[in-house]
C-alpha cells in the first residue's frame, strides 16, 4: 500500500510533469540561462525582463530538446516582464489558474529550466495581498510571496499549484524575496505588449513632493496632504495644461492625490489622451486646470 509520503512525493513529481512541457530555457544574457513559460498557442513565451539583457540573438530551449531563436516582442521593466515569440512553442494543457482559492500555507512548486531538464523547488504560500506597485512603478494585481527557493536560473519560470496549474511567473528581482507575478498581470501585460509593443503609461511631466495642506482645507477635503510641483518639464502635458512650479495638486480626475503612489496609480494607460480635471492650490487659493494626459 502506498504511504502518504509516497503519495505526496508522486503527486509533486506529477505536478512537475504536468506543467514542465511549458517551461522553457531562455538564453538572453551572458551568465546562466534563465526560464520562461509558453503562455499561449501562438508561440508567445513570457519571461522576466531582467534576465533578457539583449534585444536579439535570444535563444529558447523547448521541452522537447529543440533549440530555437526567439523574437523579442516587447518588455515592461515596471513589472519585470518580457514577451518573446517562438515558432513551434506549445503551451501545456495545464495552464493558467486564477487561483481564487489560494491561501497562505498552500503547497506550491517553482519550476525552472536553466539547463536541459526541468527543475523544481517546493514551498508554501507565505503571504497574499491586494494589488501593489513595484519600485519602477508597475502595477501587480496581487501580492503573492512564497518561501520557494529561487535556484539559479529560476527567474521567469512558473509557480505551480497542487493541480499543476500555473499561478504566475516567478522573479527574484522585484524584492529580496520570492515573488510571483500573478497570471492576471501577465495576461494584461502580454495583451498590452502585443497590441502596442509596450505597456502604455500616462505621463504629466512633473516632479512632485507631498506637502501638508492648510488645516482648514485639509478638514474640508478630508485629505491632509497634496503633491507640490517641484519641477515641470518644458513642453510637457503639465506645462501645456497651465500647471506651474509651486502648484499643489489636490485631486486628479476626481481622485485625491496624497502621495506619489496615488498619482502613479492614476496615470495608467487608460488615461492616455484623456483631458483630466486637476484641482490645485496656487498661492493659497484653490483653482482648477485641465490637462491632457500624455504617454511615455
Amino acid at each position: 500500500m502506498a504511504s502518504v509520503v509516497e503519495g505526496i512525493s508522486n503527486e509533486l513529481a506529477g505536478m512537475v510533469e504536468a506543467a514542465g512541457p511549458a517551461v522553457v530555457r531562455v538564453e538572453g544574457r551572458r551568465r546562466l540561462p534563465a526560464s520562461g513559460i509558453v503562455w499561449s498557442d501562438d508561440g508567445i513565451v513570457v519571461t522576466a525582463h531582467h534576465v533578457v539583457e539583449r534585444d536579439d540573438r535570444i535563444g529558447v530551449g523547448l521541452a522537447d530538446g529543440k533549440q530555437v531563436e526567439a523574437e523579442l516582442v516587447g518588455r515592461d521593466p515596471t513589472t519585470d516582464l518580457a514577451v518573446l515569440r517562438v515558432e513551434g512553442a506549445q503551451p501545456s494543457s495545464a495552464m493558467s489558474a486564477q487561483a481564487d482559492d489560494l491561501s497562505v500555507g498552500h503547497l506550491v512548486l517553482a519550476l525552472g529550466r536553466p539547463g536541459r531538464t526541468v527543475q523544481a523547488t517546493l514551498g508554501i504560500v507565505s503571504a497574499l495581498g491586494t494589488s501593489w506597485r513595484t519600485a519602477a512603478g508597475g502595477t501587480i494585481d496581487r501580492y503573492l510571496q512564497t518561501d520557494v527557493v529561487m535556484y539559479p536560473g529560476f527567474s521567469g519560470g512558473p509557480l505551480v499549484d497542487a493541480d499543476g496549474k500555473v499561478l504566475g511567473l516567478n522573479t527574484s528581482a522585484l524584492r529580496g524575496v520570492s515573488l510571483t507575478i500573478p497570471s492576471l498581470t501577465v495576461d494584461r501585460v502580454v495583451e498590452s505588449i502585443l497590441s502596442h509593443g509596450r505597456v502604455q503609461r500616462g505621463y504629466l511631466g512633473v516632479g512632485v513632493q507631498p506637502v501638508n495642506l492648510p488645516a482648514g482645507l485639509a478638514e474640508e477635503l478630508g485629505q491632509e496632504t497634496g503633491l507640490i510641483l517641484i519641477s515641470v518639464e518644458p513642453g510637457s502635458p503639465a506645462e501645456a495644461g497651465g500647471l506651474t512650479l509651486g502648484d499643489t495638486l489636490l485631486t486628479v480626475h476626481g481622485e485625491p492625490v496624497r502621495r506619489l503612489d496615488d498619482l502613479l496609480s492614476l496615470l495608467s494607460g487608460e488615461l492616455v489622451g484623456v483631458e483630466v480635471l486637476i484641482r490645485i492650490l496656487r498661492g493659497g487659493e484653490p483653482g482648477e486646470q485641465k490637462v491632457t494626459v500624455g504617454e511615455r
Binding site: 523544481a120 523547488t121 539559479p152
Partner: protein, 199 residues
Amino acid sequence: MAEVIQELNSELARLSRQVHASLVRVESGRWGAGAGTIWHSEGLILTNSHVARSRRLSVTLPDGRRAPARLLARSRDLDLAALTVELSDLPTIEIGDSGRLQPGHWVMAFGHPWGVEGAATAGVVIGQGPELPDRPAFGRDWLAVGLHYRPGHSGGPLVDSSGRLVGINTIMVGPDVGLAVPVHEVKRFLKHSMQRAAA
C-alpha cells in the same frame, strides 16, 4: 482535522527511525567528524572523500559501538570514500534507484549538522544530471535537493519517500540547496574500485 498531515508526520518519524539505524559518525582525527552510511552488513561504510581525510579513522554506530575504520577506496572527483570496519550484522539500508528520481520527488537527508546527532532535513528533488548551475560539469551526475545541508551532513544518507538510499549528502550550495552524489554514481565508484582492488 489535518488527518493527512498527522499521518504524514507519523510516517516521516517512522521513516527517520528506520534510516537512522544505518547512519554512522565518522571521526577523522584532527579533521573533525562527519557522517557515513552503512552500505553492507559486514562492515562496508560509504562517506565523502572530504570526510575521510585522516589516516586515523573511526566509526561510531547509532547504538554506541565504536571501531577503527580502514580506508578501502576513495575518489576525490566523485568525493566518495569506502571504509571498512571489523563489525558485522550491521543494519543496512535498502538501495534505491536514483535514476528514477524526478524533480518534485520527496527526499530526506540525515547526518550530524553542527554536531547534532542524527538530525533530519527534508525537501524535494530540484533536478539531477551532469550540468547544474553551481557545479562545473565533470561528466558525472549530481543530485540537487532543496533542503538544509549543514556541516556534519556530509557522507550521510539521502533517502526517497520509501526510505530507500538514493544519494550520499555531499555539499551545501547555499542555505536551502544541497548536492548529493546519486546512488548510481556510488555503485559505479564501488564497482570501479573493487575491480581495481582485485586486479
